[in-house]
Amino acid sequence: MADNQNNSAALTVKNLSVYFGKNEAVKNVSLDIAARAVTAIIGPSGCGKSTFLRAINRMHELNPDARMEGEIKLFGDDIYSKNVQPVVVRRRVGMVFQKSNPFPTMSINENVTVGLRLNGIRDKKILSERTEQSLRMAALWDEVKDRLSAPAISLSGGQQQRLCIARALAVQPEVLLMDEPASALDPLATSKIEDLILTLKKDYTIVIVTHNMQQAARASDFTAFFYMGELVEFGPTTKIFTSPANKRTEDYVTGRFG
């Protein structure tokens, strides 16, 4: 879908500032996020990393006090242009949350297809194809294929989170945002999610917020370090973790604060 574009950048962020009322949560951030790669965003809590992530699919607008300045382009399209609706942006930029949140009234199957169904796709064939495809991508298919109509909340915590990933993949987004997707999971489930991220980057651009340094080091290609709303340093993950240019970055990745 974006192959003919300038191949490296999926998202171009220019001078992005996000305010909640008078409080400036993200301060004048500019960076390019590479396509088909994993970009990790790290930083101490309250540093604006989640807000930055939510600005990419305009989820921060759910807060009525939120206001933004600057520009974000998704494969060349300005997602904040006047005639663009957040709904459309969110279809192209999927999101997975910290706490798994499958819809409790729906079955596994219904959860995966809900994004399609509520956007008007009724064709049973398409729906069942997408279900299998998405669950396979989320490495959940083998575990649930015999009980697709079981309630989603009957799954374990790690399975629920992978179901949420499948749900996000089913609408075929171009970018997948993950907000600390493994922070509520046990180590085994976490490593499954990390493996999944490495597989998914073949097809998707992934941006992941994490407070887990090892996770950022293991799973990402690029790392951005945020501090007090500012982008302190951004570069290839190996560089950030082995030879950071900034003193604060070094202190943070070596665990001296945060």
């Binding site: 969110r90 279809r91 949350f97 949140n101 819809f103």
Partner: protein, 284 residues
């Protein structure tokens, strides 16, 4: 903390426990007594004819309240048609939209309406529909008054249960690019559906026993209402008529009617408890 002081304090502690316990028992006593008398007087008066026959003219023994029972259900149906859509959608607005200022006023107004005496609702709808003969004393006017009374009740309970739906579900849905209104209808309302139904049922139970507003609207009818534009009988109205009458047989019927009405109302109230118990299980 000297010893005698301590003893006195302990005694006071026990004494207050006993007094407050006695008050709790005193509070529950009328419920037990009402139940006891209703069962004692009502059960012997309930028979097949009570459910199948019309009231008999003065002086004749027997008859029943078939028309009043049916009338109550018809009125409740009409009330639900008015009260449920307006109340639920208004509750959705309160929970999902709106600035805090406006919502404060809406909530305030709803709470005020919930405190408006039921007799006041009766004369208001009398002035609105009955006096101008639109269409006069009728099942229609009776349904309207009960429906209007349901609106603020349903609105507030709907708002409350919608607020119980974790924000994560709304976010998850919106992040899938699902429009906000679809998110509300298909995700939020669906998740809270049992709670909403509970609120509606409780509101219906509440208006099912209303008498005062029906006196000037539905009016009551000793026979069947053939059209919604005719006066219609209702259980509470019939109970009231018979309760003040001097005839033993009518008072006997009033006991029977009161027992049936109370069982109806309590059945809803207790049934709802099972619904909600289940709801909280499903939530977590």
């Amino acid at each position: 903390m000297t010893a005698p002081n301590h003893n006195w304090r302990q005694f006071k502690d026990v004494l207050m426990r006993v007094i407050t316990f006695a008050c709790a028992i005193l509070v529950v006593t009328p419920l037990v007594l009402v139940f006891y008398h209703l069962l004692k007087e009502g059960f012997t008066s309930i028979n097949w004819a009570f459910f199948t026959q019309l009231p008999k003219p003065v002086g004749e023994i027997g008859g029943g309240m078939a028309n009043a029972i049916a009338g109550t259900f018809i009125l409740l149906g009409e009330a639900a048609l008015i009260g449920v859509p307006i109340g639920v959608l208004g509750g959705v607005y309160l929970s999902e939209y709106g600035g805090s200022k406006l919502n404060w006023w809406i909530r305030f107004a709803a709470d005020i309406l919930n405190g408006v005496p039921s007799i006041t609702w009766g004369i208001v709808v009398y002035g609105l529909l009955v006096a101008p003969h639109l269409p006069g004393f009728s099942a229609l006017a009776g349904g309207v008054v009960l429906g209007l009374m349901m609106i603020p009740l349903v609105m507030r309970t709907t708002e409350e249960v919608l607020q119980l739906v974790p924000a994560g579900y709304r976010e998850a849905s919106l992040a899938l690019g699902i429009a906000k209104w679809r998110t509300i209808v298909q995700i939020v309302i669906r998740t809270a559906l049992k709670g909403i139904v509970t609120g509606v049922l409780l509101a219906l139970a509440r208006v099912a026993g209303e008498t005062a507003p029906l006196m000037f609207t539905a009016f009551g009818n000793l026979g069947w209402a053939r059209k919604l534009t005719e006066p219609i009988a209702a259980l509470p109205l019939q109970i009231f008529e018979y309760a003040k009458s001097p005839y033993d047989d009518w008072r006997r019927q009033a006991w029977a009617g009161a027992l049936v009405l109370l069982l109806l109302v309590l059945a809803i109230n207790i049934g709802v408890r099972f619904l909600t118990r289940d709801r909280f299980k499903a939530k977590i």
